[in-house]
């Protein structure tokens, strides 16, 4: 392995460990809030698109999302500041709660169903537009429910779901 590549691998590793640290700090902040407010929620920490990604799943957290996601945005903003205060680095972390924007989710599920129909009819794979991790998950889940298989290909931000024929 050349030195340059070595250096790149190291950078990538340090970026990931930095993002994981961000995720941990953010999770502590959010967990503390959920505890005080006596709200149930599991916090999932991930790294997506070179950002820390946190997802709270609780089922009864609509009020923490808000009608247009405004509460979720505010909480995301505060969580980013908490990470910045703790680690000294600006954070671009993403926060999701109960897979908000359920209409968006429904829309994606509908797209997945339509695509599955076409794939079944033609027997050929169909590649969908690039999607973020949340969107891809919705599509994969829907395709699986229908009984077809799908996979993701390409690198973020161009990663796409491909729906495969039976």
């Amino acid at each position: 392995m050349s030195e340059a590549v070595d250096e790149k691998v190291k950078d990538k590793k340090s970026l990931i460990s930095q993002l994981e640290e961000e995720g941990d700090v953010a999770a502590d902040y959010l967990e503390g809030l959920l505890d005080i407010a006596d709200l149930d929620g599991d916090i999932d920490i991930d790294v997506e698109n070179d950002r820390a990604a946190l997802a709270i799943a609780g089922g009864k957290l609509n009020h923490l999302v808000g009608g247009r996601g405004e509460v979720l945005d505010a909480l995301q903003e505060l969580t980013r500041l908490a990470v910045q205060t703790s680690l000294g680095e600006r954070s671009r972390l993403m926060l999701d709660i109960d897979s908000f924007r359920s209409d968006k989710k429904a829309e994606l599920a509908e797209l997945a169903k339509e695509t599955a129909k076409e794939v079944k009819k033609s027997g050929e794979a169909i590649k969908l537009r690039p999607m973020n991790a949340f969107e891809r998950k919705v599509v994969h889940d829907t395709i699986q429910e229908i009984g077809l298989t799908s996979e993701s290909e390409g690198e973020d931000p161009d990663r796409c779901v491909v729906v495969l024929p039976e």
């Binding site: 902040y29 503390g32 809030l33 005080i36 407010a37 006596d38 009020h63 923490l64 808000g66 405004e70 509460v71 945005d73 505010a74 909480l75 903003e77 505060l78 500041l81 908490a82 205060t85 703790s86």
Partner: protein, 79 residues
């Protein structure tokens, strides 16, 4: 509970968390939470164009299930 929630949210974003003091005041107009922070932290809790202050109000009101007023004050300010 709501004062504790606000305290947690503020303490996490300031450099002097030990100096954060929350006072809850209820009146006919509803609940007001007064937040005292170290003078060096007042800019942090207000944020650019009041963005952070607004985020605090939004989250606290959402958790309380009603509109809560949040006043941000420098700790050394005379009452």
């Amino acid at each position: 509970m709501i004062d504790e929630a606000l305290e947690h949210l503020v303490k996490g974003i300031v450099d002097n968390p030990e100096e954060v003091v929350i006072t809850e005041k209820s009146s006919r107009g509803g609940t007001t939470l007064e937040v005292r922070v170290h003078p060096e932290d007042i800019g942090k809790v207000i944020g650019r164009n009041g963005r952070t202050a607004k985020a605090l109000r939004t989250v606290v009101s959402a958790i309380a299930g009603r509109s809560v007023r949040v006043d941000l004050i420098e700790a050394d300010e005379v009452r």
